[in-house]
Subunit: 353 residues, 2 copies
DNA sequence: TCTGCATATGCAATCGATTGCAATAACAGA
DNA sequence: TCTGTTATTGCAATCGATTGCATATGCAGA
């Protein structure tokens, strides 16, 4: 264990060196370029079948593996896709990521996921991804600050948004139909006889926050509920604590709502906290609806009625969009909208009245 | 500043082309190698300060960004780390990942996370990562099949395990002290007066499953509980459904346990399901203890008493170990063990007796 | 036998950055 | 003035794979 274990300086001729295309060529008595062709599906037709088979066999024999860095350098495409996430730990994100990654993997791409919250400026993170030569970017970041989007456009980098849209609608996106989701929630409550429905809105600089709020207001209006009976309080972040605070403000109003629609499940859990703090029962005193159907909200007490969004499909759609963009950079910006679904559980109950 | 401002030979001077080291060199009237040195902290001392500053300025001016693929090709190090995860959607994983990624990012590495469950053989996934030239691998995979580990060792690839250990203890690892965690759980229940404690064990081919079970049995024995009063049922997978089945078997025994320790929180939720199915109350009839303290188990009903493990620290430790391995491939294999902590909530209650 | 064309393979440049070595300049000491 | 250092910078090879072009071979048709 304490031998002179430092052969590191300079080269090493041990067997540990990874075989290259040259090794395969030497073993087959052909030129490296022939090996390259034989091993590339697209160019394989240029080399004699017999030779191609021999090369393939030799490659397998010595365990040859393509060096993506070299290939990428030559071809200018890395096969890498960057994903900017607001917070990996957000339970809503993994399904999206999984959808993205699966689709991209199948096409030979690898994904680099970067958690924005943790470190440095978004700008800088994007630059680092560019340095790595990513072929495209999926943005799921919380706050779509213009400069980041602009930065990507400047770099002529294919970009798509997932679970978000940008204000100008410049970029292709895959997202849930926020307005439709809120409509499901509101109409469900109205059908249950609720007439005073509050909304704990998410951050308004995030598209989901703004759009869900707009959806709530539109649906409430369409249901004939006056604005004074459909109060809105904004949570500054998508966290349980912020949801609690906003809900407390809602409950402190003169005419207390009999139901609360939260902009997402985390906020809804915060609403639970607020109700507990005020000694109110859910759904007995106040019904609650969440949004996203994140894992385990069926286990909380009471099980949360929520709007399920198609997270995995969303990721997959985003991946598809991105690949299309990469193939044809000028392609029209498409906005894929996924239909949400209402999952009724125990947190909503009819209002006898 | 010479006259030969060669108009980019064949290429068009569109803004879309990423500037290279050559462009910077041309702009400064120096050789590309000088630019390389000026821009590399380690080699900067070789170039005159005045020139270095000029180069730096020019690089900023035209927005030069290092091409990692090219650098990696030349230096043989990609700055990429692969992370093999059993399932990104497992709520226990993100904190670990976050710990890994943060630490590695700070050192200039990027991480490629691969979800094993979704696609293809683990073997193949590892090969793809190797093709990408990863400098090291973090394995958090469910089943440590020997061949994968061997495969990595064959490739002379630095590898560390996280939240797992391999049977032979060959590889460095960062994991929670499973035995200590079970001891906390058992002693807590014993202190509450429980005398018949069951265990819903995890898959035995996974280190956490086997070690937690061993820890349970050792602690039970030390507490003076006879084996017939401390039955064990194995769940084949770490899922809620499997936990339910195992718990049902436990409850069907002649002498029903008054408390159940589950090998993880997901299984514990399955235990809740089983209790509900049998019309038993928790904690009234049966107390339940989980393991991992995954997000939101404090929100379920009743809030779950569980063993919290230091997931983020675990990820960070794994990253540290890996970097050490990369720096000194022969380094001794270290096993970092993190202390767990018991979080007492509402699912455990004293046994009056 | 010669021409023509297709097929199969070799050759060499190239992608962008790094680095050992060589070359030059600047300067000190004698 | 000559020699020996040292500080800078240029040169060119290199990493591994790809690809346009040139070459060689084979075969068919005239």
């Amino acid at each position: 264990m304490k031998q002179t274990l430092r052969p590191a300086s300079g080269l090493r001729a041990t067997a540990s060196a990874r075989p290259t295309i040259k090794d395969v060529a030497a073993r087959c008595g052909v030129h490296p370029s022939t090996v390259s062709r034989a091993l590339s599906p697209a160019m394989k037709h240029l080399v004699a079948t017999e030779v191609a088979d021999r090369i393939q066999a030799a490659a397998n024999a010595i365990g040859y593996r393509l060096n993506m860095a070299a290939k990428g350098l030559r071809t200018g495409r890395s096969g890498l896709i960057g994903v900017l996430a607001p917070d990996i730990a957000d339970p809503g994100f993994p399904p999206v990521l999984s959808g993205i990654a699966d689709h991209l993997n199948a096409e030979g791409y690898a994904t680099i996921v970067v958690d924005v919250g943790s470190k440095g400026s978004e700008q800088d993170l994007v630059d680092r991804l560019i340095a790595r030569g990513v072929d495209g970017l999926v943005l799921a970041t919380v706050s779509l600050r213009d400069d980041v989007v602009k930065h990507c456009l400047d770099a002529a980098l294919p970009v798509v948004l997932v679970n978000r849209v940008d204000a100008a609608g410049q970029l292709p996106s895959a997202a849930s139909d926020d307005a439709a989701g809120m409509r499901l929630a509101v109409e469900h409550l109205v059908a249950l006889g609720h007439k005073r429905i509050g909304h704990v809105a998410g951050p308004q600089e995030i598209s989901t926050g703004a759009r869900r709020r707009a959806g709530f207001e539109a649906s409430a209006k369409d249901a004939g509920l006056p604005a004074r009976h459909t109060p809105v309080e904004i949570a500054e972040t998508y966290t349980r604590a912020a949801g609690r605070e906003a809900a407390l403000r809602l409950l402190a109003r003169r005419t207390r709502p009999t139901a609360i629609v939260a902009a997402n499940d985390l906020l809804a859990l915060g609403v639970y906290d607020a109700l507990a703090a005020r000694g109110l029962a859910c759904p007995g005193d106040v019904s609650v609806v969440g949004h996203n159907d994140m894992p385990f909200v069926d286990m909380v007490s009471p099980p949360l009625t929520t709007v399920r969004i198609a997270q995995r499909d969303m990721g997959e759609a985003a991946a598809r969009l991105l690949l299309a963009r990469i193939a044809a950079p000028g392609a029209s910006r498409e906005h894929i909208v996924l239909a949400p679904e209402l999952i009724i559980r125990g947190s909503t109950i009819a209002r006898e009245h």
